[in-house]
Each structure stands twice: as structure tokens, then as C-alpha cells.
């Protein structure tokens, strides 16, 4: 009997089973799923709609056209569209953070030990967490964008439905990177408190020191430096270019993809190395 197992087993066996286990927890529990969407919706609704920035610009000064000013600073005519797109990155940030926490749960509840006692490769254990976080985020991205369109998101003049694929691609890369990062932070923990504190310490600055709510070019220099290394900024920029900007800057878009792609590659590699070292203490 055992011979059958060995012959038909690939290096990646268990990958889908473990990924699906993560996803199942979520699609079998619609409440949980709704809760993760509430936060970006609140942000969109409250911040995106209350900050009617274009109304600040006086209309009675000759030679000053509010539409042009908005487009020059935000790349789009209304602030709502600008920040709604920022919510996509924010959701990815929180979803990947939970994937990090789930490692701690699995350890505390004995599931991790159970899996580690099977022939499943340690890399697969990590990758399944990463993959499920990425898949979740991509699904949530779709929902958020649909809601945003309903709320009045204005698509760019040259928007092509194929651009959606680009959005998914960059969100996928971002999530692979972020969730590898969070898993690397939690891989050794047996308790919730420490990684939770560290993640909160990372998450808020990461969200605000990015162009999610406000364009980087209007920020002070020191902050701009941070924003310019933050992978979230590149993701936001790419998603904006693909969805709401009227004329796409292809060079900038290529840079966005390259940056986020390399970020994902490096952090995921580090995550794998750490998992090899620390899963078996």
C-alpha cells in the first residue's frame, strides 16, 4: 500500500489541501468574510466621501480650473476614486496579517505539529498560507472594486477590461511578499501578543506612509523617502494607472510591477529559508 503513496506523490502534494483548508474556513463562514470587507467600505464611505477635496478649490479665480488641479495632484478628477483604489492595497495588508496570525493558531492548537509529522514539505506548509492569503485578497479586491464602482468610482478614459488582470497580478505579488513577511515574523511564536503588536506597529505606518490616501509628491521629503520604498505605494500606483487614470504612464507602470515583483521574490525566499530553519526547532 505504501508503495502506491510514494510513487504517486509529487513534491507539492498537500499544497492544495492546505490552501483549501484556509479558504474553507472563510467561505464556510460568510460573517467572517463580510467583516473583513466592512473596514474598507467604512473607509471608502466615510473618508472617501467626506473629504470632498475638489470642493476646496475655489472656482471663481480666473485661470484656475479645479478639474485640472485635481488631475494634476491626484491623477483623477475626484478624491473618492483616488482613495477607493487605495483600499485595495489596505485590504491586502490586513488579509495577509491574518494569514500570519493563523500560523500561531495552528501551532497552539496542535495542527502545525500534526502537519509537520506528515511527509508534506515544509515549504508547502508556508506556501499554502501565502497562496490562500493571495487568493483571498484577490477575491476581496474584486468585491471592493465592484462596491467602489457602485459608489461612484470613475474609470479612466482609456480603461480596458483586460487591465483588471494587471490589477490581480500586482495584488498577487504584493500579497505573496506581505504574507511571507508576516509569516516569517510569526513562525517561531507560540503566543499571539508579540506578533500582534509587531504587526500593528508595521501596518499603520505602512498604510499611511504610502500613497493610499494622499499623493506622495505633496508630502514632506523625509516622508516621501519612506513612501518611495513602501511596496504598497507601487501597488497603489499600478492599480490607479490601470483603473482610473486617463493616460497611463507605461514606464512608471513597468517600474511598479518590477518593484513589487522583486519585493515578493526576495521576501518569499527569505520566508522559505526561515521556515526551513525554524519549523523544526
Amino acid at each position: 500500500m505504501n508503495e502506491i503513496n510514494h510513487n504517486s506523490k509529487s513534491k507539492l502534494h498537500g499544497m492544495w489541501a492546505l490552501t483549501n483548508r484556509e479558504l474553507k474556513k472563510w467561505y464556510k463562514e460568510p460573517i467572517l468574510f463580510l467583516l473583513t470587507l466592512i473596514q474598507p467600505i467604512i473607509w471608502m464611505g466615510l473618508l472617501g466621501k467626506s473629504m470632498n477635496i475638489s470642493a476646496l478649490i475655489p472656482t471663481n479665480i480666473p485661470g484656475l480650473d479645479p478639474t485640472t488641479i485635481m488631475e494634476q495632484t491626484f491623477g483623477t478628477r475626484d478624491y473618492f476614486s483616488f482613495m477607493a483604489v487605495g483600499m485595495v492595497g489596505m485590504t491586502a495588508l490586513f488579509t495577509t496579517m491574518f494569514s500570519g496570525m493563523s500560523v500561531v493558531w495552528d501551532r497552539r492548537l496542535g495542527f502545525l505539529n500534526k502537519v509537520l509529522s506528515t511527509p508534506v514539505s515544509r515549504a508547502v506548509i508556508i506556501f499554502s498560507k501565502v497562496l490562500s492569503a493571495a487568493l483571498r485578497s484577490m477575491f476581496q479586491t474584486s468585491i471592493i472594486l465592484i462596491i467602489a464602482v457602485v459608489f461612484g468610482l470613475q474609470l479612466g478614459a482609456n480603461f480596458n477590461p483586460l487591465n483588471i488582470l494587471g490589477v490581480f497580478a500586482i495584488i498577487f505579488c504584493l500579497c505573496v511578499g506581505l504574507s511571507s513577511l508576516f509569516i516569517a515574523l510569526t513562525i517561531r511564536s507560540t503566543r499571539m501578543e508579540t506578533p500582534m503588536a509587531v504587526m500593528n506597529l508595521i501596518n499603520l505606518p505602512m498604510m499611511f506612509a504610502s500613497n493610499a490616501f494622499y499623493p506622495a509628491k505633496l508630502m514632506p521629503d523625509w516622508l516621501q523617502n519612506i513612501v518611495n520604498v513602501n511596496p504598497l505605494s507601487y501597488t497603489n500606483d499600478a492599480v490607479r494607472q490601470l483603473l482610473i487614470v486617463n493616460t497611463i504612464d507605461y514606464a512608471k507602470l513597468a517600474l511598479d510591477f518590477a518593484y513589487v515583483g522583486i519585493f515578493a521574490l526576495i521576501v518569499a525566499s527569505v520566508g522559505i529559508v526561515l521556515s526551513w530553519r525554524y519549523l523544526r526547532k
Binding site: 500500500m1 502534494h13 483548508r21 496542535g110 500534526k114 509529522s117 526547532k281
Partner: protein
């Protein structure tokens, strides 16, 4: 058969440079036996299992499972073992069958084949009627049986059971022992188990290693261990007001006789067999036995003898405690 299935030599685990959880233990487990680690909470039982199943790296020493070195051939080890952990690891939101199929996937067992196997196992542990119910609705005993089935999905040659009846009530515990015996017979496996229940070690194990503070203090079959204590205690009284100590002393296997206010305390080997001989010897001389009792030593006395105290609970880390509490709660079906 006396083929060695597990062999540990000087196996040691030190946590955080100063906490020696397992301290140079040596033992071997023979083919087809149930070998048990008996010790209080925090004695180092789980840590030993975790090293044998290649989850923890030993700080010192070596061990092999079916001839595979746990440090150098850990993948081979993982292919031939099964684990029933101390915790309940089945997914609460999935059904019993779905959980077994997930386990099968972790071993890379093809789906077509896995389903048949899973149904077989569910039948063996008598969960067929509940296979499509969420684990959430299972009682403690049912959960344990599901974990047993899950540990057997890859037809392991060695099954590791960590405190298989922790938190279960006495009745369910006894029933679980039956399942374990049945499964062992069905699959002809070797079992390595841990427990802190004395009766469990006594009822289930062919050989027991008593572990305390990470050290093995004695190894032997429960009978041997109890026997080595010097035998059973027989108490009797006779109608006549005479001292018959000498007479009793002459019966074979009697080791010691003490007279205490009209009754005799006799230490004897093989109490059940020796007792009739004592009565016979007394009757022949015309004495009438009015009161008689036999007390066999339990593993508790063995434990007391070797560690100098009753089973006590050692200090446990917060994490170990947390996992234990959850296990206990689920055992009660919560």
C-alpha cells in the same frame, strides 16, 4: 518477534539553554508491542514524541525509527509513522470524512484510493453514521476516534499516541482503549504512547517506562514492575487465638508475615495463586479462616517506589497549559 522498531540513545532536549525537558533517555521498542511513557504533566513525554516524529531536533543523543535516523533521514521517518497528538487537531468546521480526506492529502494518497480508505477507517472507529456531520457536533470520545482514524490513514508501521484519553470520562476512556487494541490488531502496528493515567498504562501497555523530570527511572512490563515491588498483600484473620505466623511463612512464595491485632499481613508473590495454598495449610491444621482479602500493588505503588512520591503535576509553561485546557474542553465535547 524482537525486532527493534524504535531505539533511543542518550536522547536529550534542552529548551532555551537551561530547561532540560528530556534528559539522556535510553529505550527500545520492540515490534508489535505497545510501549508507554508514564509520567506526570511536564515530565517530558510530548517532547520525547516530538523528537521521535522529527518535529523537534534533539539537543543531544540519537534515535532511530524503523532503522531511519530521526535527524538525518527525517523524511523517511515521516513516511512510515502516524501521529495522534495530544490536542484535537481535526477541523471543527469540516465533517469527519472531509477531515480524513485532508489527512490523506497530506500523505499524498490519491483521492480515489483515499476515500475508500477513509470510509473503512470511519467504519472501524464506528463513526460511519456521523461521517457527514461537522466535527463541532462530535462528543469527546468521537473526536478521539476521529483522531485515531486520521493517524492511521497512511497505514503507518508505528503509531504515536500522545495522551490518547486526556480529559475523557472513565467510561469513554475504557471504550477508547478497546478501539486502540482493535486498531493495533487490525493493522499489526507498533505503538508508542504516553499517558499520565496509571490505569491506562496498566491496561494498555506491554511495557512501560516511568519518566520523571525528563529521566526514565524504570522500564518494564506493568506486571514485572509491580512484581518487583515484592508481591501482593494478603490480609487474613482466624477464629483461633493462636499465632500461626510460622505456619504461613512456610507456604511457598510467602515472603513476609506480620501479625497485627488478631490479623495477619502477608506479603506474597502471585497472591491469587498463593492465597489458596495458605488457606489449605491452615485448614489442614484445623484452623478456621474468618476474614480474607487480597490487595495487588498498582502502578501507583510502583511510581511511589521509584520517584519517592505520588504522581504530582509539575509546573507547566503557559503554552502547554493552554493547549491542555483546549484539549480537556473538547474532550468534554465543548
Amino acid at each position: 518477534m524482537s525486532e527493534e522498531i524504535i531505539r533511543a540513545e542518550g536522547l536529550t532536549k534542552v529548551f532555551n539553554k537551561h530547561l532540560t525537558a528530556v534528559d539522556h533517555v535510553n529505550f527500545s521498542v520492540k515490534h508489535g508491542e505497545i510501549f508507554g511513557f508514564l509520567g506526570p504533566n511536564g515530565a517530558g513525554k510530548t517532547t520525547t514524541i516530538n523528537m521521535l516524529i522529527t518535529i523537534l531536533k534533539p539537543t543531544e543523543g540519537t534515535a532511530s525509527v524503523l532503522g531511519f535516523d530521526i535527524a538525518k533521514q527525517d523524511e523517511n521517518v515521516r513516511n512510515v509513522i502516524g501521529l495522534v497528538p495530544q490536542e484535537y487537531t481535526a477541523d471543527e468546521d469540516l465533517t469527519g470524512l472531509e477531515n480524513l480526506l485532508l489527512c490523506a492529502d497530506l500523505y499524498g494518497i490519491p483521492r480515489s484510493f483515499a476515500k475508500e480508505r477513509a470510509l473503512d477507517l470511519l467504519n472501524l472507529v464506528e463513526l460511519t453514521d456521523f461521517k457527514d456531520k461537522r466535527v463541532q457536533t462530535y462528543s469527546g470520545g468521537m473526536r478521539r476516534r476521529l483522531e485515531l482514524a486520521c493517524g492511521l490513514i497512511n497505514r503507518p508501521k508505528v503509531l504515536f499516541l500522545d495522551e490518547p484519553t486526556l480529559g475523557l470520562d472513565v467510561q469513554t476512556r475504557t471504550a477508547t482503549w478497546e478501539y486502540i487494541r482493535k486498531l493495533k490488531k487490525e493493522f499489526g502496528m507498533t505503538l508508542f504512547m504516553t499517558t499520565h493515567y496509571l490505569e491506562e498504562a496498566d491496561a494498555l501497555c506491554d511495557r512501560v517506562a516511568i519518566i520523571d523530570h525528563g529521566k526514565i527511572v524504570v522500564i518494564g512490563s506493568p506486571e514485572e514492575l509491580k512484581h518487583n515491588l515484592g508481591g501482593d498483600l494478603i490480609t487474613l484473620a482466624i477464629k483461633e487465638n493462636e499465632d500461626v505466623s510460622g505456619l504461613i511463612q512456610n507456604v511457598e512464595h510467602v515472603k513476609e508475615v506480620q501479625k497485627e491485632d488478631g490479623s495477619y499481613c502477608i506479603k506474597a508473590e502471585f497472591g491469587e495463586i498463593t492465597m489458596p495454598f495458605i488457606i489449605e495449610a491452615l485448614r489442614k491444621k484445623g484452623y478456621t479462616v474468618t476474614r480474607l482479602s487480597l490487595t495487588e500493588p498498582t502502578l501507583n505503588e510502583v511510581y511511589l517506589e521509584y520517584t519517592g512520591r505520588s504522581m504530582r503535576d509539575a509546573e507547566e509553561s503557559r503554552e502547554a497549559n493552554f493547549a491542555r485546557r483546549i484539549t480537556m474542553r473538547r474532550a468534554r465535547g465543548g
